[in-house]
């Protein structure tokens, strides 16, 4: 099994008519994802390589039965796009767009929680997620992931996610689902949400968790793992040498007031029984050992 999405998930792409949305939307379809619709009020009635364009998400849901949405619209329009998706009946919203203002993120996170508690938001500023061999929603390169199991991956960083998928594939280890939760200050889906889903998924037997500096999501995940997780977890945290007060590329990757250091995160994870690699390669090797021990 996979978590959140599979081969039956029907996805509408908000921003499919833009160049980035079109590029990845078609790549996702080639991978096997059910890309059933795009939206654009000014291009309703047209199509993108055979994928119908509707004026609104509500109409796309009505006509196609889409349950998931993937958002590629520019940052200024993300807030409205997220609410349009939720109000249109979508229950899984993936926001790839980067550069969304933090106040917008905080607002629509809480608005969804309040008015649409059953909707899951992933991102913004994330690579999306892939259930190898079943569905790929977002910008992950599908062919670097080996389908099957037994590993589930959750990560705050896009390229380190790819690195992890690749390292596992080199070792002939498959992945149930790989979720990129994104590097922004208010991610819609947290490490804990993913750990919980992996813990409940029978095909996932071990989890790779890739963190980075900033915030306290890794520490919270560590506490959750200690209390609830029965499956082995291997982790890597980027940014050990990051100077305080500097945003390291991601808006959320910043050590401020002595908080959010990689060292503290790694200690919390180790304390929770997680095996922590010093670099992505070592994390891959640790996971290979864990998988071998699963038998």
């Amino acid at each position: 099994m996979s978590i959140f999405v599979d081969e039956n998930t029907k996805v509408v792409y908000q921003g499919l008519t833009g160049s980035t949305g079109r590029y990845y939307g078609l790549l996702n379809r080639d991978y096997g994802t059910q890309v059933v619709a795009g939206t654009n009020p000014r291009k309703a009635g047209s199509d993108v390589d055979g994928i119908p364009i509707y004026a609104t998400v509500a109409e796309a849901v009505e006509k196609t039965g889409a349950t998931a949405s993937c958002i590629f619209v520019p940052a200024p329009f993300v807030r409205d796009a997220v609410m349009e998706a939720a109000e249109g009946g979508i229950d899984f919203i993936v926001v790839i767009t980067e550069g969304v203002p933090a106040h917008d993120e905080a607002w629509f996170y809480n608005k969804l929680k309040r008015d649409h508690p059953d909707v899951r938001l992933l991102g913004p500023n994330c690579p999306g997620l892939i259930s190898p061999g079943k569905a790929n929603i977002g910008i992950t390169a599908g062919h670097i992931a080996k389908p099957g199991g037994p590993v589930g991956i959750v990560s705050r960083s896009g390229t380190l996610t790819y690195q992890a998928l690749y390292e596992l594939k080199q070792k002939d280890i498959g992945c149930t689902t790989c979720v990129g939760i994104g590097g922004d200050p208010v991610p819609g889906t947290s490490f804990i949400d993913c750990l919980e889903a992996f813990e409940a998924d029978p095909d996932t037997r071990a989890v790779m968790m890739i963190g980075e500096i900033g915030g306290s999501a890794e520490e919270e995940a560590a506490a959750w793992i200690k209390a609830n997780m029965t499956k082995p977890v291997v982790s890597y945290v980027a940014g050990v040498t990051a100077p305080p007060g500097k945003k390291m590329g991601h808006a959320g990757a910043i050590v401020s007031g002595g908080k959010g250091t990689a060292k503290a995160k790694m200690e919390a994870l180790r304390d929770a029984g997680v095996r922590v690699g010093q670099n992505p390669t070592e994390a891959g090797e640790l996971m290979a050992e864990v998988v071998a021990a699963l038998g």
């Binding site: 905080a106 670097i144 790819y162 050990v240 808006a251």
Partner: protein, 379 residues
Amino acid sequence: MDLFEYQGKQFFAAYGMPVSPGEVAFTVEDAVAAAERLGPPVMVKAQVHTGGRGKAGGVKFAATVDDVRTHAANILGLDIRGHVVKRLWIEKASDIAEEYYASFTLDRSAKLHLGMLSAEGGVEIEAVAEENPDAIAKIWVDPVVGLTPEAAAAWVDAANLNPAARDGAIDIVQKLYQAYVEGDADLVEINPLILTPDDRVHVLDAKVTLDANAVFRHPDYEEYDATQSRDEREQAAHAKGLQYVGLDGTVGVIANGAGLAMSTVDVVNQVGGQAANFLDIGGGANAEVMAGALEVINNDPKVSSIFINIFGGITRGEVVANGIIEALSQVDIDSPIVIRLDGTNAEQGREMLAPHLSDRLMLEPTMLDAARRAVSLAG
């Protein structure tokens, strides 16, 4: 984007918060002229993007215009935690009865806005939080609901300020919240917020950090972008639109993706070296971006080797290789370059690089091998 104190005060004033009249000065003569217009006594305050100004001698009371001349001469050029003072804020001095603290920022863990208010102002809030956490009244605000007048009043009451400050404080915290939200700030902080002997509540200092992602809503913020403190390398990288952070080491780093770039800096450190920078060229890795990145790193005199770490996801290895080869034909690089190229079509990419390899351009199979080579070349 960090604002100077005076920019922060102008930002607050636009939302109706009471601040003192003042003027910016870049020279001693400017400072003296400003003091004459304002009328002494005035405060002479260093404008730098760091705390600890008072302790460093960057904030002085001037009873007379002559005092202003002396203090301005001393403070201009002063080094405060690595920030050299280039501008002063000359402000009409205020009488202080009591000092408070007020701020709003995002609580990433609660995913709500967090307001902090304390009767113990004028000192570092981290110290108050450490020694006397009960002295800080906290409020978590749901952005959908906002800060209601009732909640603001209850919060102010919980902070145990002087009763004379109650109404003024309730008014100011609501305006502070409005400035925080409408202004797209990551942080708004007033320390100290003062009560004057004649019972007015007044903003005496301002620390504001704005969200660079929200500039599309605030075109006037470009002015602040121009006054950010960046070293020369960071300025050059910023002009090219690169995600760059200057560090102190000798190995120049180029990687695609923020996580991989951070990881690369870490790995350089793990194998005994030190990175000169963090640089994320993003997903594209085309010749133009690569050339720009190499140029920025090449202009850093400390750099003695360069480590290019690329993992091709959607971006294919041959495109990356082509970008590197083209970039090298555009820019003359002084330091040897070590490349690690992995991921999609990495094999083709490495084949394309093969005829260009020399003791100035090397290819290593893994991230660790490449880091070791780059570090040994850096000496």
